[in-house]
Amino acid sequence: MSDHVDRRTFLKRAGAAGAGAVIASRLPKPGSASAQDATVKPDAAAKRGGTLRYGVHTAPAHFDVHQSGTVANIGAQSPMYDYLIRRDPRDGQTIIPDLAQRWEISPDGKKYTFHLRHGVKFHDGADFTAEDVKATYDRIVSPPTGVVIPRTPLFSAVSDIVVLDPHRIEFRLKEARPRAFMLGSFASGWNIIVRKKTLEENGGNLRQVMAYPGTGPFRHVSRRDKEVWIMERNPSYWNKGLPYVDKLEVYHMPPFSPELGSAILTGKLDYARLIDPVTWRKAKETPGMTAAEFNQSVIQAVFMNNKKPPLNDPRVRRAMHLALDRHALVDVVKDVAPMSVGGFVYPFHELSTPASELVSKRLGYQKDTRPAVQEAKKLMAEAGHAGGLKNLTFLVRDVATFKLWAVAIQAMLKETLNIEMNLKTVQISQWFEDAAAGNFDLGISAIVSALMDPSDYFTAWYGKDGPQNYSNWTNPAFHDLARQIEREVDDGRRKTLVRQAEEILEKDPPLLPVSYEKIYDAWHNRVRGQNPSTFFGIYDVVRWDNVWLAST
């Protein structure tokens, strides 16, 4: 090998090194949650063709994905749309390009500039431009009258959305937000890009517009209400070579139902989501099938009406919090729905106290409940309720898990703290009416978040007047801390603040965490390219563009 370096070679190498440095500066650090060079590429080994039959949830109640809060919409409609950026379908975590092929964040964190792909077309043949992104996000950030978009608070810092040119758009923020939070918000599976013209033609409300055009890998073919939604491969998809399957059939089936379970076990479906634990275990031991579990963005919790004494006393609430045997509660529902033990912050999030530490060290989460119960009794005595409480109304949603838990929690609180409760079991819509009207002492339900980042749900779940703060809980110290967490852009300092927030929540519980939901998926091994084990929730990776069938 020659040591000689001529001028041309030097310039080439210097140029390559310079370009490499520029690219490297844009690439994420190891372990970072975004990767700008990682657009999903077609796999040469993947087989093409066939029909993928996917079973998930009941039919959507309307068609406006932005306005929805259920997987009924996401599960069926997402394959027809793209996002600005997305979670990598290979791990469900890393943020990668989608309709924006790259992005820049200004050093002060107040400008997010997205460079959009050229040549992308909507299913009706129209060109995709930055105007469509602006129309989409204008609607999400400031929904028009009569339109409600649950993800609006994620973009509360956005002050302006500016189209720089047809393929460049800039989001300007009033103040910086943590990058992971902002990128996670843009990558949320709810934020599908819709056409500006579609929004204009429908007055900004798509609730009853069935198949509005997207840019996604699949196109609408037909829909039978509450039965099946059929889509076909989009031959003009911008990501050439994707998707692999020719046809996608999304079957609407109630979650955790025997119907869904039997459909996947008998091979009537190729892939099923939200299956019950019995079916999941059966699938796991069935040759030719795979079963996976992953974390869901839902906490199951008991709310305590802070407007009613003595539940406005933090000592009483902490006593109840400590009296729950959470391992037993997870066990009670093990054949109905998969759950795991956790506290006030997602136990699997990097900012929270790890679940292993909770279970081994923290009162209220340990398997041996005696120390926690002893402390709980002491707190009740200090609060003047050593003899217990009587005639509390426990509002229970008419759902199998909640009914099982309600009886168990009733027994636990009676046995440990002599708290007597009357169960009031009601339908879901009635539960929300009663909860909003404050017609309860305790109430059990589930609440969801769009992101795993605490800044999303610290406002919604625990914020003063937060929409899911059914306990009507307030704690000025916590609210101040939550505001700091929302604005803190340094990960290390943010982690410290979150841990401080956890301490406040432990001492002054806004709710009683019962458990965190898990999702059970199962599929036949002919389905390739999908393994959700590291996914968070069922809302972000639902497009099926990289999934193929080994035998069709």
């Binding site: 409600v148 509450k226 079957y251 039997s262 879901i428 819509s429």
Partner: protein, 318 residues
């Protein structure tokens, strides 16, 4: 006859108007909010009171009740029956798509109930307190006692775990694929049919026990007629009237029972659509389906009344 028919028609229509009023009022005074189903937990929680009011107005649920009722009656008169206020699907299309499947289940179950119930009843009546009678009576009590949806669940689980079998997932009409259609219909029809067959068997047994003691049956036997001829030609027609009446009533039970049984089998018929609509509080769908069931019940009862004259020539309508 004409007078009788007119009287029955007036009675039937007034019954249906009453039913429609009850359904309409009950659905609107029951607690619960359809917006929960529409927006999901997260979305519903973030609805401001003003947004809720506006959306309820868009759905037509804020109008005065008489206006809403008049609108429903107008939709019925136009034949469209209105639209699901969630997805905007026409209720008439839902009924046309799923109705044939539920109708097949009802008719086949009725057929099964007669095919099983009548022979069992005849054997029991003509051999009272014999072994076949005791077995038949025990079996009929068993099927009376077992809830249809539970038996349905057992059948679904047994076919799944023993034969790895599951019926088709979507509606398949008889004219599209008879074999797939049969797979959808047979399970619910057998469960509902066996339940009704138990009633038919018990009723036909008790009616036949009365009839076979009549003089004309004794005379028929004395003439030396064959036993089968005595049963089928002389005894049975006269014992059938109460059984036919019962079948009409049972048809109502089939309609009601099909809701739970379709759910158990996962058959996408009208019963299942009703369950989902109730859960979603899709008022427009619920009120139309309940009214449809009421119409069918009234029509069947009139048909049963009219069949009396055919079965018993002594009966005349005035």
């Amino acid at each position: 006859m004409r007078k009788y028919l007119l009287r029955r028609a007036v009675f039937g229509v007034s019954t249906l108007v009453g039913v429609s009023l009850i359904i309409f009022v009950v659905l609107r005074i029951l607690p619960g909010d359809p917006l929960v189903a529409m927006f999901g937990l997260e979305g519903f929680a973030k609805l401001a009171p003003g947004d809720r009011a506006r959306i309820m107005e868009d759905l037509g649920l804020s109008d005065p009740l008489p206006v809403q009722y008049a609108r429903w009656m107008r939709d019925i008169a136009s034949g469209s029956l209105g639209r699901s206020f969630f997805r905007g699907d026409k209720v008439s299309e839902l009924i046309l798509h799923r109705g044939p499947l539920s109708a097949e289940i009802a008719l086949v179950s009725m057929l099964i109930s007669w095919l099983v119930g009548l022979p069992v009843g005849i054997v029991s009546a003509f051999r009272p307190n014999s072994l076949p009678d005791n077995v038949a009576r025990s079996a009929s009590i068993l099927f009376l006692a077992i809830p249809g949806f539970w038996l349905g669940m057992l059948i679904v689980l047994a076919t799944l775990f023993w034969f790895n079998y599951k019926a088709p997932l979507v509606v398949v009409h008889l004219w599209q694929d008879p074999w797939a259609n049969l797979q959808l219909v047979v399970g619910p029809a057998v469960v509902l049919g066996l339940g009704q067959g138990a009633y038919i068997a018990r009723m036909s047994r008790s009616c036949l026990l009365e009839v076979i003691l009549e003089d004309y049956v004794r005379t028929a036997r004395a003439k030396g007629l064959k036993e089968a001829f005595v049963v089928l030609r002389h005894a049975l027609p006269n014992a059938l009237l109460p059984v036919v009446t019962l079948s009409g009533i049972l048809m109502g039970f089939v309609l009601g029972g099909s809701v739970a049984v379709e759910q158990a089998f996962g058959v996408p018929g009208l019963g299942r659509a009703l369950v989902v609509a109730v859960i979603e509080r899709d008022t427009i769908v619920v009120q139309n389906l309940v009214l449809l069931y009421a119409v069918i019940f009234v029509v069947i009862n009139v048909a049963v009344d009219l069949s009396y004259a055919w079965l018993d020539p002594r009966i005349r309508y005035r």
